[in-house]
Structure formats: structure tokens, C-alpha cells
Symmetry: D2
């Protein structure tokens, strides 16, 4: 029986629709679809959590409205993912009106930020590219495994759903099918989210976003040099140790690689590693479903933490 | 009127079929399709050039047979692309029986090896990945622009035709569509071809091959650090200068990027650049049609050079 | 808690793998994967049902072996779908060794054959094309709505998974993508299954199978003349009445049409109708997921009936 | 050397861009790209022909403007394909302002309308679906082969480019890929064009348009009953006789079928036939490239006829 009632705003986009689909199978929640303009009635609905699957500019307006009514918010946009208005202004090109909420928001990457989430009023659900990149990179940065002088390359490829449902010249079937293209090279607005969470400097990190002719899925190929000779098996072991007990992390055995099919329609994040000990070259391949672990699934992980129910509820 | 008669062996594969299609539109040649086993009759055909669009092990057998009959050979396989039997043994896993021909073969990347090609008896047509990588990298290595201590990353993506026409589990529609996957990470046999021509050491070069759900096209995203602060415009200018007069090289203006559609069914190689002068980070994106500039088209470029006719004949 | 143990043979093909995936989510069964050659041990496994997701020739051998051990069988192949050895010989091109089992097998289309299924020892799970065609046609034939003198056209399109997982020249990505083609025109071996269940004569029925560049899904466009003037709404009403209470049948309102996305990964069969009362022309569009309602999902529907558990268990 | 100068309006859409691409390879013409609003300057350009690759409402305005300046027009829209304002009003939903031009326009299907084209001032280039349907049907109607009481079914499938370049919800990659859907069932505005040219009555003809997840290509599967017993070979022979000397018609041998790959990027129309003499059932499969024989290629065929140059110039 559903013990909690949750609301969703922005259920027509790809992330929102995925969220509705997943929540409908969730054993502990009842879902209410809300429209923009319904703010005045929220408090009477008894919502335990409100999901905002809206553009950043809409979230900037609605998140405060919900918080004022005592409703906890999980925001899927980029509105509250960075920590300072200055950083937001630089990457999003507009001023951020609520420095207080930027400072308050809990970043919703459970594998690294779990302690702060249960008590949060506002959760900033991570971006799709940063989810994959940070799950691959942060354990390596923490261990000091990466030669920071050489830096890190993250070559990222995403399915079309990552660009949203709005019909544009670049999302037209005839433009995407049988094509592949790069965009936002070295200047994607997901970069600062990766730097903040992985613990890297911008000058150390090269990021290219690329559009795959598929509907869903992100695969990132990450390159760096190890500071000291290291085997792939050692890095695999590091991941397994760091992610022991994590229900959504899967580490491939050496020689086997993640791909989009294996993670599609799941909340899993798959990791594979190759290393050349003599030169220190390391390649990590990471894959997630951008609409699940990269958006709606992770939002439900965060909701489960807010509600104090098992973190995997509705996600396995 | 056709002035030359040329033969093709292996016209049923993707590269061979593309070659036949392109040669049929070529203004100066008449094409003869040959079958394996026809060797004894070649000399009577009066062939000016024989194309081998065959697997390396077949080319190793047929190229010597043709040369003995005085027929010049353009081999599209990997059989004669490396320079020493030792290197061949390491990357192809079998001994090479003809060190003499390895030493003799001209590497058929006209933009860099043009002088040796016209008089060659045996041309080793470059691999598809190396064609793109070398056209992007060699001018930069020659100019000393790359910080070699940091090294170079080449993240390569290819359409399915690059893996050949043979039906396999990995080329099945249901396996490829809506998927994306990495293979041969740090150990693709095209790596030594890139090292030799670009002038890099293996320890400096990280290469990942990946399978795109498209039929044709290669796009490679290349990352390095400049040894000194450099603008994208400066690198663009370097390419334009180096490739001045080259009919198949196109340099994108800054902020515009190559993609597969723009090069499909053409012999063009497109290059785009982004740089961050403060950190030295540089990204180069290079795209070709793997079946044209990466195989059949380049083979015709080489044939034109062998025959002393305009290098662009049949290719524009 | 799982109350029943079921076995699967042929779990590596697309239908078999889909069956395993669906059974793993089924609340009442535990699944055992079996290999060919394991026949002697079946009786000791205590299997309530054995699924054969094997080629017809293998099912012809294994179904009798299971029945002799007292194990009930749901066969997903074409081995037991026709009623006489003569008909089997004509369409499958080989003799049928077990006329007795052909006569005994219950045809597993629950919407029409439900009464016989619960007590059956052997269920012949319908073919994918016939499932869609029969769900669209049989109510209309039963009502005498179709002008039989004019006959029925069924233009059928299927995703690649319908042709199986075996890599062939026709399933290669490069052959299928950006293509569309017809095969087995007027002679597909699913035709007799449609005739038998819909109640049509071969001379009245034209069927073309066609290969869509998608992984899963069947859409059939069916054309006929009504014997008397009829509105689309009337036919819609007829379907709604006939399928009242059927959990997997969905009738579209006039002007809305089934498509593959709407049925993908579900056991639903969607129907849409358009009619021109003045001329009697009628078009019915029917869509299913060939791997679910057209194979594994329907097999589970049949299993639920055999086991006396709710027919929708594990399927909603 | 180019002997003629031709203009194009609407070169940014798919048909217009294909036209520009094809004309650039044409040996006898020089192409001028024109913008809407440039009408006053047309007469000074010395245009031999003006192509309108514009929406019908724009063609209705620009074709008269060109004709008044003495410039011959080939219109790729539906503006002048029907013969009476009444018919136009019914299928296009708006009044037609120029009954005189409807009456005057030559329908540009050279295989049937060649005599009238060379002297025409205004050529109505056929729609994509009607081109395929009429090339398949008209010879059969002319020969009286079809049982008209039973009628004809035309099940048509088109690539996405047929719906134009404008980004819409239905052309979004994520909506089209892995999908297939019907639209405009029994009411597509191409129907009257087929009826007029094939010589059928609306009550005799059922037409469904369907969207394929491919960029280019149309395949139509046509069903009818022969009035008397007929073999596929006989119908094949009829086509071969009727299309003897036609450079763009290819008749498949029995058992071989047209597909989209075989006609892509060509002006060919491929036909295949299967018949069951005992029941009279016949299936004809016809395929064209909707952007070439279904639009730009056929427009060039018509231009060649207007200019008195070889009909295949620029098209082989």
C-alpha cells in the first residue's frame, strides 16, 4: 500500500515521463501529476516530496514556492547543482537569484553524498553526464591515482533524449540517424558539476559531448595517466572496494566492457577498465541510462533516502 | 574513354564494393572483377593496377603473385602497412613472410607520402582509423605543438561497415541498433600505423575504438596539451597552411564541427579545433567516410598517382 | 513465494531470453534453464511446465520426451500449431512425425481458445504474425462482417528479432538499417495458422511479410470490404464487446492509431479502425510486441492458465 | 559547358536540397538559387526553367508570377497536380485560385505523360506516393488486368524525409526510431493523384500511408485480384513490354523483390510481382527513392524534356 504521496511537475518531457513510469511501479508511493500554475494548492495535497522535472528557470521559481509551503523538493534541472551564484552565472549565463538555496541544496549523488540527503529540504539531482563521470572519476581522485599534471580526458556520448523532447533541427530523425557529432567542446555546462564532485580543476579536465543516434544511454570514455605503475585489476579492485554494498554499481571484469544495451532501462552504472602499467595509460569506460541513473532513477533513489525507505525500492 | 584497365579482387566486401562503384564512375579506367584462383591469367589481362580488397592473409599471397607478373598492386588490407616483420608479428599475431615487401611498400597516404607513390610497385593503402588520426595529428607533431610528456588521446568511433560484411553476433542489427560499445581498448592493430606515420611513441598515445550504430563513417576526437599557449585559430591556420592545395582536406571555422553526414559518400577529411590557451588543452575532431577516404576513395587517389592522371579523377 | 517450478529450453534466442526475463519477474514461478541433452533428468526436477523456445525440429523431438515424463509443455515453435500432418508438410516442407500430438495440442491464443488451455498437456504457442492477424480478424469473420468474395489483405511488418538471433546476411546491421523489404510474399508459413484460426480460405487471404529496421514489434495493416455499409465506430464497438474483460486488448478511438512504441515491452495488442461506409472499405491496424504478445508474454499467459493462477500474473 | 540557366526556389527543404545536389552534377545546366521575394528580378536572369520546391500555397503565388514573365515552371508541390478546383478544395481543404492553370498544367510523370511535357509552360511534378503507385498500377489498369469489383489495396511506407525538414513532434528522432506508424488512412491527399493517373475510382482504392524509421525511400505493396487466371511471369512481361525503352524502370525477376537500398540515391523505380493463378491474388511491390524519382530526380527528367536534352542527362 502506498504510504507516501509525491507530486511531479514537468511530466511531459523525457525525464519527467520516465519518472512517472518508474513511480507508478514503486511499491510505497502514490503519484500526483501537477501543472505549472497549481502552486497555491500544493499544501493541501499533503505531498511528501515534489519532483521538478522542469527547465532550470522554472525550477528557480517553483522550488522556493514549494519549500515555503513546507514541501521537500527534488529538482532534476541544473538550477541548484552548483554552489555559488558566480559559478552559476558563468556556466548558465544568467544570474542566480537564490544564493541561499544554492548553498543549502544537497547534491543528490547517493554514492558520494548519502549522509546529507535524508535530512535535506532541497535535493539537486545530478546531471546525466556528471553522474557517469563522477562515479568513474571520484574514487580515483580520492585515491590519488591520477597524475594531475597530465589531467583527465572525458569523451562523452549521449542518446538524443538527453537533449529533451522539444523538436529542433538537431533532433530531427533525418539529422540524427546515420550521423554522429560533437558539441559544446570544452564548454558544456555539466563541466563544473564534474569538477566540483570529482575534485578536479578545470585546467585538468577536457570534456567533449557528442550526440549518438540512439534514444537513450550515455557512455563516457575516460583517459588519464596513473601517477605510478598500476594494473587494470588494481583499479577494478579499488572500484569494487569503494562501491561494496552499492546496489547500482557494477564493475566489469578486465577485457569486458560496458555498453548501452546492458544499462538501458536500469538504474545501474557499469564500469570497465584497461591499463598499461609500463606507460601508466589508463582507460575507464562508464555507461548509464541517461533517463534512469542519469535522471529519473537517481531522483527516486534520492526520494527513497528522503522518505527513509529502502534506497532500491522501485528500482530493481 | 578509358585509358587504363584495372583489376579488383575481393569486390564483395564493403570496401571492395565501394571501390567498384567509384571506379565505374571514373573517367579514365575500365574495371575487371577478378576471383581468387585467377592468378595465372592476370598477365594476359594487361592490368595497369590490381586492387586487393582482401583479408591480410590473402593479400600476403596474392600481392607477390601480381608483382611477379609485373602488375602494380594497391592493397587495402593491413598486410603491408607496417615496416618490419617484428612489428607485424606483434600486432597481427602471425609472422610476416615477406620482409622485403614490407620494406618496399609505399604507404599510401598521399597528403604525406605523395612523392614515393607514383613510382611504387606496391602501395599499402592506409587503415581507416589511421587515415583520420594521421591527417589530424601529423601536422601538429611536425610543428612540435603537442606536449609529448602529456601525450595524445584518440577516441575513435566507427560505423559498422568498418568491421566488414561477414555476419557475426556483433554486427547483427539487434545488437548494434540503439547500442554503443568500446572494443580493442589500447590494443587495436591500427595503433602502430598511427604511431609510425604521426611520429609518436606507443607510451604517448591512447586509442579506443568504438562501434557506432551507423553504416558508414569515422569520427575521432583527439585530445592533447599544447606545449605553449595556443589559440584554436592558430591551429586552424596551421592546418590550412599545411593542407593548402590538398583537394580533400577541409578545415572547419572555429565553433563549427565535422560530423558524419558531411563526409558521407565523399573522399573529404574534415577537421575542427577548439583550444583553451590558458591551460593548453586542445581538442581536434576529425571525420571521414571510412569506406571512401578510409578505404576505396583513397585507393583511387593512389591509383591516380600511379597512373599519372589527376589525383582527384573520379573522386569529386 | 514461488509456488511452481518451470523449465526453459532454448533460452539464448530472442524469444527464450525474453521469456527468462519475464519469468524472473513473475511472482509465482521459479525458473530453471535447461540445456538440450538434459532430457533424462527432467522428471527429477519436478517441473510444472516446460517451455520449448527451440526450432520446430528440436521441439518435435523434445516435446514428446517431456510429455512421456508427465511434464506439460508450452512450445513456442511452429511444430504443433497446425492440425494435420498434410498441412504441416505443405507449409514446413517436411513430414510431421506425430499426427497424434498435432491433433491433441491446444492452440494457445487465450482470447479465443481459453477453454481448452487449462487442461492441455501440450500448448502450441501461436506465431507472432498470426497472433496479431487473428486478434484483428477473427471477431470480424465471426460476425460475418467481411465480404468474403472480395477477401482480406494483411500487410505485415516485423522487427528484426522476428527472424531470430542467428547472424545472417539479412540480419546484418548494414543490410537492415535504412532499408525495408518484403519476403515470403503469399507463401509465409504463418499463413495456415491465420487461416485456421480466423476461419478464412487461402484464396481469400493475401499476406506479405516485411522486414522493418527496428528490433522489436509487429504492425499489420488489414484491408477488406464490409458486406454491408459500416462505420468505423461500429467495428470499434464490436471489438470492445468481443474483447470486454480481456486484459491485453486495447481498442483505439477513431482517428488514433496503434504504433510500435505503444506496445513495446508489453503484452498488449492494440487495434485501430477506419472505414468508408459508402464504399465498404475498411482498414484495421493491429500492433503487438512480437517478443511479448507474439511469443514470450503469450507463453506466460498460457502458463498462467495451465497453472490456474491469474492470467495476467507477471504480465502487467 | 552549361547551355541553360535554371532557378530554384525552396532549396533548403529536403526535395529542394536534393534538386540542387543533382543539378550541380548535371552536364547542361547552371543553377541559380533564388529567395522568396526576388520575383521582380527573375526576367533579367534569363532562366530557361524555374523549379518551385515550395509549399503548395507558395507555389500558387509564385508559379503565376513566373509564367507572366515568360519563365517555364516545374512545381514540386501539390498545387497544380489535380485538374479541377473542386477536387483541390476537397483534398487540400482550401479553394484553388487558378482553375486555368490547373487545367493547363502538364502532369510530369514522363512514363505516361511524355508527349505533353516538352511544350508545357507549367509542369506539375508528381507526388512521391503517386509516382510509385501509378508506375505500378497504370499498366495493369490499362490492360484491364485488375478485377475492379474487388478493387486495389496500396499499402505505402515512406521514409521521414517525405514529411519535410520542419522539426515536429512526429519527426523527432526518439519518436521515429524503433517505431512504425500509420497516418492519413483512406484520406491521404495523394489519393486523388493516384486515382486520376491510374484510372481508378475512389471506392475501388484503399490507401494507407505509414512512416518508416529511415531517411529516404518509399516502398508500396499493392494487392488486387486478376480478372482471369494470370502468372507472375505474365505480369512481369506486361511491365517489361510497357516499359521497354524506359531508362528508369527495372522489373525484378520472379522471386526477387525491390527494397529501399537498391533504389536509394537513384532515379530508378523497381517493380516485383507475385501471383497465385488459381485464386487470382496478385501482389506487386514497388520501390523508389522519394527524394529522387519521387521528387527532385523526376523534376530533372521533366526539365530535360522541356529543354530538349536527353531525358537521362544528370540522372544516371
Amino acid at each position: 500500500m502506498a504510504a507516501f504521496r509525491v507530486g511531479i511537475l514537468g511530466h511531459t518531457g523525457y525525464s519527467g515521463a520516465e519518472l512517472v513510469k518508474l513511480l507508478r511501479k514503486h511499491p510505497h508511493v502514490e503519484t500526483v501529476l501537477l501543472d505549472h500554475g497549481s502552486e497555491t494548492g500544493w499544501s493541501s495535497l499533503g505531498l511528501s516530496v515534489l519532483f521538478l522535472a522542469t527547465p532550470a528557470e522554472v525550477s528557480l521559481e517553483l522550488a522556493p514556492a514549494a519549500l515555503e509551503q513546507g514541501i521537500r523538493v527534488i529538482d532534476l534541472s541544473g538550477a541548484f547543482r552548483l554552489r555559488t551564484p558566480e559559478n552559476y552565472q558563468r556556466w548558465y549565463g544568467v544570474p542566480h537569484p537564490r544564493a541561499d538555496l544554492l548553498a543549502e541544496a544537497a547534491y543528490g549523488l547517493p554514492e558520494f553524498c548519502r549522509p546529507r540527503i535524508p535530512a535535506a529540504r532541497l535535493v539537486a539531482n545530478p546531471g546525466c553526464y556528471p553522474t557517469a563521470a563522477n562515479l568513474a572519476l571520484r574514487p580515483l581522485v580520492e585515491e590519488g591515482l591520477i597524475d594531475r599534471a597530465v589531467g583527465v580526458v572525458c569523451d562523452a556520448k549521449s542518446g538524443v533524449s538527453g537533449a529533451g523532447k522539444k523538436p529542433t533541427a538537431t533532433s530531427h530523425f533525418s539529422e540524427v540517424a546515420e550521423n554522429f557529432s560533437a558539441y559544446a567542446v570544452l564548454e558544456h555546462r555539466h563541466v563544473p558539476e564534474i569538477l566540483l564532485t570529482a575534485g578536479l580543476q578545470e585546467s585538468e579536465f577536457s570534456f567533449t559531448a557528442q550526440l549518438l543516434p540512439v534514444h537513450r544511454g550515455i557512455l563516457e570514455t575516460i583517459y588519464f595517466r596513473a601517477g605510478a605503475p598500476v594494473e587494470a585489476a588494481t583499479i577494478g579492485e579499488l572500484y569494487r572496494r569503494r562501491y561494496a554494498g552499492e546496489p547500482f554499481m557494477r564493475i566489469h571484469p578486465e577485457g569486458s566492457w560496458p555498453n548501452l544495451h546492458r544499462v538501458a532501462h536500469t538504474n545501474y552504472c557499469d564500469l570497465g577498465v584497461k591499463a598499461d602499467p609500463s606507460s601508466g595509460r589508463v582507460v575507464v569506460v562508464v555507461a548509464i541510462d541517461n533517463l534512469v541513473k542519469g535522471a529519473a532513477g537517481q531522483a527516486i533513489q534520492n526520494m527513497n533516502l528522503l522518505l527513509g525507505i529502502p534506497e532500491t525500492a522501485g528500482l530493481l
